[in-house]
């Protein structure tokens, strides 16, 4: 990764994409070209190419489509979390529906991008993600709350290694999620809770990573239950 030269106002954001839809690739490329601070660092069209891409230098943001011709983008997301630890992974989706988004977040994604977004919106989302914020919709907020409620009720008992202990939501994180389900935007929530909008967005990022850890812990717990791993 290039380090920004001294005196430059904004550091360059390097983006790689794994996407087979040529139309969206072009829209994306055009949007990025229009932005001064974003560079396209790599493109892959299949799952295999995507995994190969991960052997190279890490980028700041990786955009992954789930429906790849030779497999699921989820595999690429998981590999990216392992290999490009500093990279923020973003999933490209048509509708931002709960099933796709939650699965991606559990795999380690930090955000999602609606494919029909305007070029301005696309670069906004990339910048937002690179700077530590994460988008969320009311339905997904509700779903995340439900996931953590389940863990709170039934998931406290499984014996899991300390670093994989499912983390529960803090009171403020919960409050943020609840306000999102009521339709308030990040800016409105920031005002209501006397926080900066950036903090609200980073709250969501933290919640996502907790969901990722939790899903990993659950997977390990399940695996142990089935005798795949030794206790």
């Amino acid at each position: 990764m290039e380090s920004p030269a001294a005196g430059q106002t904004a550091p360059l954001i390097h983006v790689a994409i794994v996407e087979d839809d040529l139309g969206f690739r072009r829209a994306l490329t055009e949007a990025i070209e229009g932005a001064q601070d974003i560079r396209l660092a790599g493109i892959a069209g299949t799952r295999a190419e995507g995994l190969k891409l991960l052997q190279g230098a890490p980028t700041d943001v990786l955009l992954v489509d789930l429906g790849l011709p030779d497999g699921s983008g989820i595999d690429v997301i998981k590999a990216a979390v392992q290999q490009w630890t500093s990279c923020s992974v973003m999933v490209a989706t048509n509708f931002g529906d709960e099933t796709h988004v939650i699965r991606s977040i559990e795999a380690g994604a930090s955000g999602y991008l609606l494919k029909d977004s305007s070029p301005a919106k696309i670069v906004d989302e990339i910048r937002n993600l690179a700077s530590g914020g994460s988008p969320i919709s009311p339905i997904i907020a509700r779903q995340v709350l439900a996931r953590f409620r389940q863990i709170g009720v039934g998931g406290a008992s499984p014996p899991i290694a300390p670093d994989e202990t499912p983390q529960l939501l803090s009171a403020r994180e919960k409050e943020v999620l609840e306000l999102i389900t009521k339709g308030f935007t990040a800016n409105e929530i920031a005002r209501l809770m006397s926080l900066s909008p950036f903090t609200v967005r980073s709250f969501v990022r933290r919640i996502y990573s907790k969901l990722n850890v939790t899903s990993k812990a659950e997977a390990i717990y399940e695996a142990r239950n089935q005798g795949i791993l030794d206790g």
Partner: protein, 639 residues
């Protein structure tokens, strides 16, 4: 190895009984010493007629008796002579045993014999001195079953025994008998004596008591199961059998005539009961036999009544009665056997038991009438044992069968329950599948309707416009964006909102936000917590989304408003969604009336479909649109 404790318990119990029998046989091991004893098997006898029973003198010299001795071997059975029947009131039978062998007098000696049989007093003289008296008031009921045991204590009779003289008084018609005798040390003979006494009195007494106890058990079973007369008959049987066998060990003078009457008749009653029992098993009425049995019992009962005017209670008459009873037993056994052999295994068991009892009874009859040797055994005492064993077998079979039946019934019940559960599960599954299919079909229909009304028609008009070249690219793009919004809302309506109207509105805002931003309209989100709407299913969710979407679209399209305020409120029996704008108003009535108000009409139609209402209040400074929704819907309340 699981049944190890059971094996241990079994071995322990059997070993305990074996050890006990070893102890008992050691205790009676005197039999081994009978070599030290004299077995007296030679005797002389004579009979003297007397006018009546008289007391024996304290001492008697055998030479004073008439010298008409007949030599005989012991055991000795004497039948009443025909001529004697005519004259005397009583007869004295004298039996003389001369003892030649040397005897030790250092320890106590005894005289032992299986039995002395007479109906009058018994006296025994040793060396001419009266040493033993029995039956002074006539025959005892148990005397035939009680062996003779006369102790000759050292010091009292120091001299060796040279002569034994037995004085047996009898009525002329009685058949006298004397078994062979043993003379020797008490310890050597006690085993013999005790075994004979136990087998002839003790064991029958035990069997009698056990049979009665089982009978009483049967009575209590019958008290709870009155419909099963078998148990009552069984109690009846045991009570009668108890009465019929008391004389083997009850020490009463035989002159107690009522007791004799009971003993005699109880055999009749016993047979009658057995007949009815068998009838119960084979199920044939056999009325003539039943009546015959009752008649015979009554007849014998009356004939043997110990009343002054009744027949005399003499030995030949008794022998005749017993012979009749044996005959009755055979008839009952044979008829019962024929009737029951095929049909009932239990009946077969009973008939076999009865046959054994008859044989035992015949042996008793033979003993009584001196047909068998007086050293034999009164086996009739064991009929109770046989009955007990056979009824025990019956009960054992019933008990084991009952347990097995219960187990089978339980097993089949469990099986039926399992089948029933499986059936229920299956029908439940089928119901669920039907429900699922219904749900899917509803959903499909709903989406089809929505696509048809909205997305489909918009796309068709877009295609037509593009083909006719009447539309600019930006317009086509806008139209397609509207379609995309429609699609997104349709997808959102399928997400689980869990009765949360606010979440639904939030979703709508999230989708419409970009449109409003691009239209430069400020959105004031002024919502409040709402109660849950339980009726909020995907279908009604889509209706609500479409109503609000239409409302916002109308504002953006027609009113040139710069701000929209969305608010929620609770209102009595419902909730309100209020959308205010600051654009130019419109004439609500006129718009609804004109064809151009198709959007408003659609909103009205959709609201009615979910039991809600829509209202517009429009003026110069803006329009207020209100969607009212009920907290509960009628059709849901009723279900």
């Amino acid at each position: 190895m699981k049944n190890l404790p059971a094996i241990a318990a079994l071995v322990f119990s059997v070993a305990l009984l074996a050890a006990l029998s070893v102890f008992l046989s050691l205790a009676v091991s005197g039999i081994q010493r009978s070599g030290e004893c004299l077995h007296l098997t030679q005797a002389r006898w004579q009979e003297v007629e007397t006018p009546g029973f008289s007391a024996p003198p304290a001492s008697l010299d055998s030479r004073s008796l008439p010298q008409t001795w007949h030599a005989a071997a012991l055991p000795l059975s004497l039948h009443p002579s025909a001529k004697a029947l005519a004259t005397p009131a009583a007869v004295i039978t004298w039996v003389r045993l001369d003892v030649d062998g040397a005897q030790s007098v250092a320890e106590s000696r005894v005289l032992y014999g299986a039995r002395l049989k007479t109906d009058g007093p018994i006296a025994i003289y040793i060396n001419g001195k009266l040493m033993y008296r029995a039956q002074q008031r006539g025959q005892q009921w148990n005397s035939l079953f009680t062996p003779l045991w006369v102790s000759l204590e050292p010091g009292i009779n120091d001299a060796p025994v040279r002569e034994i003289l037995i004085r047996l008084e009898r009525t002329p018609s009685y058949a006298v008998a004397v078994s062979s005798l043993w003379l020797g040390p008490a310890d050597a003979l006690r085993g013999r004596y005790q075994i004979r006494r136990w087998l002839q009195q003790g064991l029958p007494g035990m069997l009698n008591a056990a049979f009665l106890a089982v009978g009483i058990f049967g009575l209590f079973v019958w008290l709870r199961r009155r419909h099963d007369p078998g148990y009552l008959l069984f109690f009846n049987l045991s009570a009668i059998a108890f009465a019929a066998h008391l004389h083997y060990y009850v020490d009463l003078p035989i002159a107690h005539d009522w007791f004799g009457w009971v003993v005699l008749n109880s055999f009749c009653w016993l047979l009658t009961t057995v007949h009815f029992f068998l009838r119960l098993l084979h199920g044939r009425p056999l009325r003539w036999l039943g009546r015959g049995m009752i008649a015979a019992s009554l007849l014998i009962g009356v004939a043997s009544l110990p009343l002054p005017w009744a027949l005399p209670n003499t030995a030949p008459l008794l022998a005749m009665f017993y012979a009749v009873e044996l005959l009755m037993a055979m008839v009952v056994g044979i008829v019962g056997g024929i009737c029951t052999w095929r049909s009932s295994q239990e009946g077969r068991l009973m008939v076999v038991g009865l046959a054994i009892c008859v044989l035992l009874g015949i042996s008793d009859w033979a003993m009584h009438n001196n047909v068998a040797s007086p050293e034999g055994w009164f086996l009739g005492a064991y009929t109770n044992g046989v009955t007990f064993i056979f009824f025990g077998l019956l009960m054992y079979r019933r008990y084991v069968n009952a347990i097995e039946e219960v187990e089978q019934v339980n097993a089949s019940l469990a099986e039926r329950l399992r089948l029933r559960e499986a059936e229920l599960e299956q029908s439940h599954q089928r119901l669920r599948e039907i429900e699922q299919r219904q749900l899917l079909s509803d959903e499909r229909q709903r989406l089809m309707q929505d696509m048809h009304d909205g997305l489909g028609s918009t796309l068709i008009s877009a295609i037509r416009s593009v083909e006719q070249g009447r539309m600019r690219d930006t317009e086509v793009s806008q139209l397609l964006k509207d379609c995309m919004d429609d699609l997104k809302l349709a997808i959102d309506s399928m997400e689980p909102v869990e009765a949360d109207l606010l979440l639904l509105l939030a979703t709508l805002r999230f989708r419409l936000e970009p449109r409003m931003e691009s239209a430069n309209v400020a959105l004031i989100w002024d919502v409040k917590e709402l109660p849950a709407l339980d009726w909020l299913d995907p279908s009604s969710a889509l209706n609500i989304l479409r109503i609000v979407q239409e409302s916002v679209a109308n504002i953006l399209r027609h009113t040139r408003a710069t701000a929209i305020r969305v608010a929620t409120a609770v209102d009595g029996t419902g909730v309100q969604v209020v959308i205010d704008d600051n654009g130019q108003g419109f004439d609500v009535a006129a718009t609804l009336w004109r064809g151009g108000g198709r959007g408003l009409q659609n909103q009205q139609r959709r609201a009615q479909a979910i039991d809600g209402r829509v209202a517009w209040v429009s003026g110069e400074t803006g329009t207020r649109f209100t969607l009212w929704l009920p907290l509960q819907r009628g059709d849901l309340v009723s279900t």
